[in-house]
């Protein structure tokens, strides 16, 4: 594992850039633990101050220090992405591994359902969900809902790896030695699909953060938990752009774009590393 990381860092520029970008964003999120203000307090500093030494990213019209507010927001946004990714990983793994292991009819049935979830336009459904929940909408509920809707693409990738494991010798040995399906999947197959799970996790985080930002900006989430989307929502509510408070929009957008590109580069470079063709070139002998 450590060796792989070092290899990737040394020889894969995309991975290195992605890691640096993500480290910046993560470091920024960690600063939130040192914030002098609680996240939801407003009018603690003078409003509408442009970036300066005292307020490196300026202040908002609601009298918040944008720098510290942003540390909380990016932390919550990332946490949201990770939560969705973790829950949907469970679904994707179970469905992908079972479909790949069983093959045949089970596989076909599961993949039909899977393709359905890939095709259905999720955004209107999430909007409908918000519409029904309104004030009861919370951060956790949205994460759960998105995890339930967003596992399908990755399940398909995991399944295609699992399908190739089915015919491998160790699977048969396992079956003959009386291992249960659960044992085989967890002990034998899981390690093989983990690389692809890692790379899809990055993409899934990107996907869920993107939707969360979008929903929040429209005000379709819990607007009292600061996230990047909520931050932009409030900026729009105060027509920050028209009022010339550009920093209120600029810094959140910049930070979240860094996160998107960082995560994406990590996913791409990991994919390239897992690719059997590039492996062939690597394996000595």
């Amino acid at each position: 594992m450590g060796r792989i990381l070092i290899d990737l860092l040394r020889f894969n520029r995309q991975f290195a850039v992605g890691l640096v970008l993500l480290a910046i964003v993560l470091g920024f999120a960690l600063l939130s633990f040192f914030s002098p203000y609680p996240p939801n307090d407003s009018f603690v500093v003078p409003p509408d101050v442009p970036p300066s030494w005292a307020y490196p990213m300026g202040t908002t019209s609601r009298g918040q220090d944008l720098f510290w507010l942003l540390t909380f927001s990016i932390r919550n946004t990332l946490l949201f992405g990770v939560t969705v990714a973790l829950i949907s990983r469970l679904l994707a793994l179970v469905i992908g591994l079972v479909a790949g292991y069983c093959g045949g009819l089970v596989d076909r049935a599961l993949m039909s359902i899977n393709d359905t979830f890939i095709v259905i336009p999720l955004f209107p459904i999430l909007v409908l969900f918000y519409f029904v929940m309104k004030d009861h909408m919370s951060w956790g509920l949205l994460a759960l809902m998105m995890a339930c809707l967003g596992w399908a693409y990755d399940a398909r990738l995991i399944r295609s790896v699992a399908l190739s494991l089915r015919t491998r010798e160790f699977t048969e040995t396992g079956i003959f030695s009386g291992m249960s399906m659960r044992q085989i999947l967890v002990e034998e197959h899981l390690p093989y699909v983990l690389p692809i799970v890692f790379s899809t996790t990055m993409n899934n985080i990107n996907w869920s953060i993107g939707l969360e930002v979008t929903l929040s900006v429209l005000g379709f989430t819990d607007i009292n938990t600061p996230t990047i989307g909520v931050l932009i929502y409030w900026a729009n509510q105060h027509t920050a752009l028209v009022a010339g408070i550009w920093w209120w929009i600029f810094f959140p957008v910049l930070l979240v774009i860094l996160a998107f590109i960082g995560l994406f580069l990590l996913a791409v470079s990991m994919n390239e590393y897992i690719d059997p063709r590039s492996r062939l070139g690597r394996s000595g002998g």
Binding site: Y273, S278, G281, R282, S283, G284, G285
Partner: protein, 331 residues
């Protein structure tokens, strides 16, 4: 004898890869020289991974990374001007291909474009050389197919609708429709069952006699070589280790590896079990020093471990690369 059609000298082609700091060089073709005369069928034999395909790909200038040509030349003589196939322009090469030099690929199962009808493939490959209007061109193709006992309606089929044997015969038809002087055939019969195989071999022979073409014919099936080829080259681990008239080689192989190949052929009335060759074929990324065969050779001595034996003419028209060749056997 007139000038040879093909002269290969000192050819060296390696696969070079590098990823994540690990570089690899597979020495698949190492210092090979040979020549082939007009109208000759030249067989190329050797175990799997010995570099047969790499050699003929290099001869046909089908070089794609990671394969690189490091040294040597491949000179064809079509008409009276010699051309070094690695040193001519793309356009010039395009004029030679299929008109003078065609190729039947190993694993011909997948050489036809899966999403187009066979007819289009004939147009792409042969139309510009035959130089007739479309209907006439199609008639030429149909006649040619008929001669190869293929129904002309294969032209309207997609590759997946043809059986393996049919696909193979279609590729042979494709490779011969322009009546080229030189045909390179890489295991054209290996994937086929025995009956179809016989038919295909007969077909190749017939066409060769009709066109008077030269053929390089690659297979590790020694029986096929015995029946089809005029001369035979034996490859081992990226090197040519023996070359001579097919009859001579079968009668009296000089290189210990060839001797083993011939000895292990099943013969009528054989009862004793065949002895296998000890050891594994060498890793071409890190070949043994000296003679590459020495770790498995019953006749190996000190010099074999240190120096690579050069190709030497042991009797007229019969060459081998060995310090301790098998004794000559009088005819």
């Amino acid at each position: 004898m007139s000038e040879p059609v093909l002269t290969v000298s000192g050819l060296r082609a390696w696969y070079r890869t590098s990823a994540y700091g690990v570089s690899r060089e597979v020495r698949a073709v190492d210092d090979i020289s040979l020549s082939i005369a007009a109208g000759e069928i030249y067989g190329l034999a050797g175990e799997s991974s010995s570099g047969k395909t790499t050699l003929i790909k290099t001869i046909a200038n089908a070089i794609q990374p990671p394969l690189e040509v490091l040294a040597g030349s491949v000179v064809f003589r079509f008409g009276d001007r010699p051309v070094d196939i690695h040193r001519i322009s793309r356009e010039a090469l395009g004029k030679i291909r299929w008109k003078h030099l065609s190729y039947i690929m190993q694993g011909s199962m997948n050489v036809l474009n899966p999403v187009r009808r066979v007819r289009h493939t004939f147009f792409d490959f042969a139309f510009r050389h035959i130089g007739r209007p479309k209907p006439e061109f199609l008639q030429v193709v149909r006649d040619h197919l008929q001669r190869l006992h293929l129904a002309p309606d294969v032209l309207d089929a997609f590759p997946h609708q043809l059986s393996g044997g049919m696909r193979q015969r279609v590729t042979i038809a494709l490779a011969t429709v322009c009546r080229p002087e030189f045909i390179i055939a890489d295991e054209p019969t290996t994937a086929l069952d025995v009956v179809v195989q016989k038919g295909v071999l007969a077909m190749i022979h017939e066409i060769q006699r009709e066109l008077g073409s030269s053929i390089i014919f690659v297979t590790h099936d020694m029986a096929v070589h015995a029946n089809l080829t005029d001369r035979l080259g034996i490859m081992y681990a990226g090197r040519l280790v023996e070359e001579g008239r097919t009859a001579d080689i079968f009668r009296a192989p000089r290189h210990p590896y060839t001797a083993h190949l011939i000895a292990s052929l099943p013969r009528l009335g054989d009862t004793a079990p065949k002895k296998g060759l000890d050891g594994a074929p060498p890793n071409l990324a890190d070949p043994p020093p000296g003679c590459r065969f020495h770790p498995r050779c019953p006749r190996a001595s000190d010099i074999c471990r240190r120096e690579a034996p050069p190709m030497a003419e042991l009797s007229p028209g019969h060459r081998a690369a060995c310090f301790h060749p098998e004794p000559e056997r009088p005819a």
